[in-house]
Symmetry: D3
Subunit: 156 residues, 6 copies
Amino acid sequence: MVDVSEKPPTTRAAEAHAFVRMQPATLRSIRQLKNPKGDPLEIARIAGIAAAKRTSELIPLCHPLPLTHVDVVAKLCKNGIEVSSRAATTGPTGVEMEALVAAAVASLTIYDMCKALERGMEITELFLVEKTGGKSGRYRRPGTARMASKPARGRA
Amino acid sequence: MVDVSEKPPTTRAAEAHAFVRMQPATLRSIRQLKNPKGDPLEIARIAGIAAAKRTSELIPLCHPLPLTHVDVVAKLCKNGIEVSSRAATTGPTGVEMEALVAAAVASLTIYDMCKALERGMEITELFLVEKTGGKSGRYRRPGTARMASKPARGRA
Amino acid sequence: MVDVSEKPPTTRAAEAHAFVRMQPATLRSIRQLKNPKGDPLEIARIAGIAAAKRTSELIPLCHPLPLTHVDVVAKLCKNGIEVSSRAATTGPTGVEMEALVAAAVASLTIYDMCKALERGMEITELFLVEKTGGKSGRYRRPGTARMASKPARGRA
Amino acid sequence: MVDVSEKPPTTRAAEAHAFVRMQPATLRSIRQLKNPKGDPLEIARIAGIAAAKRTSELIPLCHPLPLTHVDVVAKLCKNGIEVSSRAATTGPTGVEMEALVAAAVASLTIYDMCKALERGMEITELFLVEKTGGKSGRYRRPGTARMASKPARGRA
Amino acid sequence: MVDVSEKPPTTRAAEAHAFVRMQPATLRSIRQLKNPKGDPLEIARIAGIAAAKRTSELIPLCHPLPLTHVDVVAKLCKNGIEVSSRAATTGPTGVEMEALVAAAVASLTIYDMCKALERGMEITELFLVEKTGGKSGRYRRPGTARMASKPARGRA
Amino acid sequence: MVDVSEKPPTTRAAEAHAFVRMQPATLRSIRQLKNPKGDPLEIARIAGIAAAKRTSELIPLCHPLPLTHVDVVAKLCKNGIEVSSRAATTGPTGVEMEALVAAAVASLTIYDMCKALERGMEITELFLVEKTGGKSGRYRRPGTARMASKPARGRA
């Protein structure tokens, strides 16, 4: 684990993105909310938030960080479900992995909730959208417009 | 959580796949094994195996299962790193999620190990390759040849 | 931990109950579903299921068990929210603690979701409703009618 | 998860209460300390402290906090066992949930240790006694006298 | 992780040992039970049992196993505290690591409880005493007499 | 858990040591890196780092701390494998337990990886080498020279 003992705590945030590609028929079933397990989008949101808090347990060389914000939004789109996540902390290192873990686990939860409908769903476009704070400053993924579906700041 | 109390325990296995796309320069650095954090492929393998064992903690409606096998192989390819995973159990329900979680977390670990080289890496093609066992029988993803890099049975 | 090495695995189930008592105004707010954090009843359900799977980590002398079913139902009532839980396994020991942990953590999650509305909410009547299976056989708490709101078998 | 990125870290504390109601005969057995599993009160204390540290894993929208103090006291009373807990942190949000989780898990551990004596024990009066610190300031539950059995500050 | 999918579940057990060496003055303080944190021997016992249940989370290539028994005994001796542990399961692979993890974490807990008295305590002689069951059969460490302090079968 | 609410956060570090004693034939096999499970030294390093982050879950009265550095080095020696660990934080209490847990779990992982070669391996000399920071200041174990193999600061 990189030694960050001498880096001062600063405000840091990161946003990530993932996409769960599926057949139109699968999407239609989800829209009709007939899944007997519950609402996949809401359960995915909760699972993503919970997973972000356990990032340092999953990723061997990640530092444990006192997260000050995590949110996940899952939105039905034309060919699947788009997942956006955001994490923030005040700490000596960044939260890129926390945002990516949130998006990944939310997507995997959607797969789990809907796999009886379609085993062939595919998780794709899992990437970092933006990070701010820290010595290296701001990074914005080229070609990503400010997404309409991104988790609003200040929401739960 | 679906009630599987009356399903008999049977042998079940699943394989999953993911791909971490990166720039040629990033790949070259990884090949030269100059990462001061350690070997990303080996650390990713361990992280994927460890994560598979915690699948039921990450995915809210997954059943806890006594896994009898998990393995992950990460292989340098032309445009990135290909991750293959396998999980097996003797239980009343399948291990698709365990294989997918292993592939996802191994991929995220590669991202973490190499993010100082390239923040724009993207995880893609995270899907189920095959599952066997259970009432619904065998599923093989269309178009996936038996991969050369898949985790050999009986290996650690 | 009691040695259950020589007890044969059998089918076991348990149901538990809890009640979160609150002011009428708090209940009205929840009914109007204006909580910016999400739907408290659904999030409580997920939290209770997830916690049941971690019972042996929380309760020091509990055996780890491969749960075959967990469900939680949270229902708005006259003076608060009633929580019902059910757990099942095929194993050498019972799942009373898993059902009780599910009901307790679901209730605590409701508290967390609504504490900005009312800090004085109280969790009460957390008890075992029924257990079946095992050498000691069936136990039914005196005075508990078969509840209408209990988790239906076979649901998620 | 509510965004607390801009709230300054301040000293915060919370106390919670729970009661495990049981038959006089059960209480007598516990008093005689003949439980072959160990001393239920001491094991409950340890379980409650350990659980408080995992609050953010159990309660989906709780922030992870670096706790600076947790303690639990379990005391034999006339009709059962009274559990008092205290948690403290220096952070941007409060520790009410940590104190409540500690009291709940300590109570559930008492149930587990003694359930062979009496399955009908009931956990009740699980509530927040007091919280201090933070923008909303001090809250004291009406009608709760400063309890004699409350965890002393500075104790382990 | 070694593939044990085709190994039948059989009864397996293991015992481990550790020794926490300390100064006579430290031992005397522990004997007088004046530790304000609680009784170190009892807390160590609970910590060791709890850790055994998490062995597959700590040791990367360990299989998750449904433990049917774990116990730990910590005993004051002439030059320190002797820790004995026992684990058992019915599964396809052995519980040596579970017994060793229990003994190690119990010893570390004793260190934690008493480190204010003596920082120089040393954990030593952490080894497997015996394992039974499985294809390789019984192993008994040469030179270890059947210890008087070993965890009795059937105890908690 | 000791109340550290009023102790100011300061920089703290600790180093620990362990030794896994084994037969020359076992050491030779490890040197030849023919272990089908992977490189035991590297896997032990990762397991030790991961375990340090979970210290407060394993040791009941340990405070959760935001670690700023953990590293483990495992080195082949004449009669076995020497394990050195280092942990650091900026917090109100020390990281001795984190360093000791890292060394212990790395050693146990070496045992797990090599136990098929030799069941009689023994973990010994698990002790604190040094701690710095905090009110009690620096402690250096008498007789421990500054080890050549100790984890270099600033490494992963």
